[in-house]
């Protein structure tokens, strides 16, 4: 075989994967980016749409509804992810012990994750029902007033957050539990000998060692939280007002109700940029911390 052929061989083998990647991944994204520069109605073919440049992007900034929706999304994502992280990691710490029946308990804990989001939305909508829902009935039976779970703008966001926490805490729980159980047990024993209390073991040994897994988990959840749709769609459909209208819901409505595909595409791109920024920040932070340690070490060993 000639040297040139040899050099080309790896590319030959990579070609099918590259083609699939381009077609399946890059084409839709490129399509979406192109669409975001158009004033495009679903009844038109893409070729008939007028090119408007960056107007969709700039118009969105002056659109109060979009800004409201963005802030709801940020609030929602930040809250659910922090609550889920704290609860999930906390539960994992609590349940990381050898007691009989623990396997059953763990299985029950991860059930919510396995239910289809639409169903989750329906279940919670019935539970939040103002008169026949379990929450208000229980409150009334105990002698408290009904709570406007889905009809008040503060409560509806809270209700949506509760449902999401219920569904996704198990995800963080099982990942943290797996991380926790793969920690070197001798390091934890050493810390007990060194005099660490239970809390100190968690803060100084367990959490730092779990950090790589936790960062990835956090990222996965964050990305998902920005894109959540079905549960909220079924529970509140974004209301009352815009109080639970997160971006993905607004994008869906812009495309189907307002029939503005270009604007919807521009919004999707904003979301994409936001997520990419978050990911980049998280990884850069890690990289920077590592580089700093290496620098410190080198300085110390030379000096």
């Amino acid at each position: 075989m000639s040297t040139q052929a040899k050099r080309l061989t790896p590319y030959l083998f990579m070609a099918p994967a590259a083609v699939v990647l381009v077609v399946a991944l890059l084409y839709p994204i490129a399509y979406m980016i192109y669409a975001s520069f158009l004033d495009w109605n679903p009844s038109q073919r893409i070729g008939e749409a007028t090119f408007v440049g960056l107007r969709n992007y700039s118009n969105l900034w002056s659109d109060a509804n979009f800004r409201e929706s963005l802030s709801v999304t940020l609030k929602f994502a930040a809250l659910v992810v922090s609550i889920e992280m704290i609860l999930g990691v906390g539960l994992a710490m609590l349940l990381d012990r050898k007691i009989r029946g623990m396997t059953v308990l763990r299985t029950i804990f991860i059930l919510p994750m396995m239910i289809a989001p639409i169903v989750v939305g329906l279940i919670w909508r019935y539970m939040y029902h103002p008169t026949v829902g379990i929450f208000n009935r229980t409150l009334n039976n105990l002698g408290f007033e009904s709570v406007p779970w889905l009809s008040d703008s503060f409560w509806s966001l809270t209700s949506v957050i509760i449902a999401d926490v219920w569904q996704w805490t198990p995800f963080i729980f099982i990942l943290s539990l797996a991380a926790l159980q793969s920690l070197p047990s001798s390091a934890i024993e050493a810390s007990r000998i060194d005099g660490a209390t239970g809390w100190q073991q968690i803060i100084y040994i367990k959490l730092p060692l779990m950090m790589p897994v936790l960062i990835v988990t956090l990222l996965l959840r964050l990305i998902d939280a920005f894109k959540v749709l079905e549960v909220i769609l079924v529970m509140t459909n974004g209301g009352p007002g815009l109080s639970t209208e997160i971006l993905s819901l607004r994008i869906a409505r812009t495309a189907s109700e307002f029939r503005e595909l270009g604007v919807a595409a521009a919004m999707s791109n904003y979301l994409l940029i936001l997520l990419m920024l978050l990911t980049a920040i998280m990884f850069t932070y890690n990289r920077l911390a590592e580089a700093r340690n290496a620098r410190l070490r080198q300085a110390a060993e030379e000096g």
Binding site: P184, S186, E189, A190, R192, D194, G195, Q200, Y204, L209
Partner: protein
């Protein structure tokens, strides 16, 4: 200073007993070494003392205070683990100072202590490295250093040198001996290497199958093993064992076995005759045999040398006595010929006799 005492200490896992009622008292500032074959329960005992393993029965006393229900933290001890157990995310300095940091000692004091110990163990240049960036021997030293920065009253070591190469092990053994002289703390040291046990210990505790077989100073164990097991475990190369029976020849008591007759000293004869046991095992250390072409019958064994292992000034001979194998340790400059019958004189004080059934020393 605490005195460590184990009283009827037992450990059971589900159905199998691992430690059977151990009684042990360690005097103040004593270097105690637990030895025994793999799986005999040394680590389990040590981990019960440390508080990492629950006690199934019995009690551990430190300074007459029962501690078996206390957390490790409350027992004031430092431990070096068999597999180092360093904190992978902390650098060497942080590994060594973790305990002090938890005790909220002033930063200056911590730094000073860490530097002092690092200096002693030759770790000064590695203080900013993570464990993953160190060699096995360096990690071992960090593990040691982490224990030494503590001011604990008792130090526990679980085979701390097992992962080192021969040279480094010898070096660290000497360091440890020096250090134990200097710090004067209670030390409990687990090993299955009897050379380590002999060189470091004030007191050796020989364990087998969860029982203590014998305890005492290295010299006591070497000179007066109470059973065939201890005799075979302590000393290198290990003691030779030959089957034999007791016979009276004139006014002498002799051990007669396949291919040899050895007469006993009067006090030995008295002891074995009192035990009234005919079938015995004769034990003799390789170093208690010497080449002696002119030895009298009754003082010597006639051996056929099969192999001579030259290890420098000394050689280890593997020989046959009847159809049993026996090893001899002697100066290399003796004229040894292979496959020839030769006489080897036995040092009479070095003869050990054991009951063949119970394997207890007579």
């Amino acid at each position: 200073m605490p005195i460590l005492r184990l009283e009827n200490l037992c450990k059971r896992y589900a159905s199998n007993d691992v430690i059977h009622s151990i009684n042990l008292e360690m005097r103040d500032r004593e270097f105690t070494v637990l030895v025994g074959p793999s799986g005999c329960g040394k680590s389990t005992t040590l981990r019960m003392i440390a508080g990492l393993e629950s006690v199934s029965d019995g009690e551990i006393y430190i300074d007459d205070r029962p501690v078996s229900s206390l957390e490790p933290k409350a027992r004031d001890l430092a431990m070096v683990f068999q597999d180092y157990a360093l904190y992978p995310h902390m650098n060497v300095a942080k590994n060594m100072s973790f305990a002090l940091k938890l005790q909220k000692r002033p930063k200056k004091e911590i730094d000073q202590k860490v530097n002092e110990v690092a200096e002693m163990l030759g770790l000064t240049n590695f203080l900013h490295r993570k464990p993953a960036e160190l060699s096995g021997g360096q990690r071992q030293r960090v593990a040691m250093g982490r224990a030494l920065t503590r001011d604990a009253a008792t130090f526990l070591f679980d085979e701390p040198l097992s992962n080192l190469d021969a040279k480094l092990r010898g070096q660290m053994r000497a360091e440890l001996a020096l250090m134990s002289q200097r710090v004067q703390k209670n030390m409990v040291y687990v090993t299955h290497d009897q050379v380590e046990a002999m060189t470091l210990a004030d007191r050796i505790v020989v364990m087998q199958d969860g029982h203590i077989r014998q305890q005492g100073t290295p010299e006591e164990l070497f000179k007066k093993p109470n059973s065939k097991f201890v005799a075979g475990f302590i000393g290198s190369p290990p003691m030779n064992f030959l089957e034999g029976t007791l016979e009276h020849r004139g006014d002498m008591t002799c051990v007669v076995g396949q291919g040899y007759i050895l007469s006993l000293l009067p006090e030995q004869a008295q002891r074995v005759n009192a035990a009234n046991q005919k079938d015995i095992i004769l034990g003799i250390r390789p170093s208690d045999l010497s080449y002696a072409p002119d030895a009298k019958d009754g003082d010597a064994l006639e051996l056929t040398v099969l192999i001579s292992e030259y290890i420098g000034a000394q050689s280890i001979l593997l020989a046959s006595c009847g159809d049993q194998k026996i090893s001899v340790e002697m100066k290399s400059d003796n004229p040894i010929e292979l496959q020839k019958n030769m006489k080897f004189q036995a040092v009479k004080q070095g003869i050990h006799l054991f009951d063949r059934k119970t394997e207890v020393a007579l």
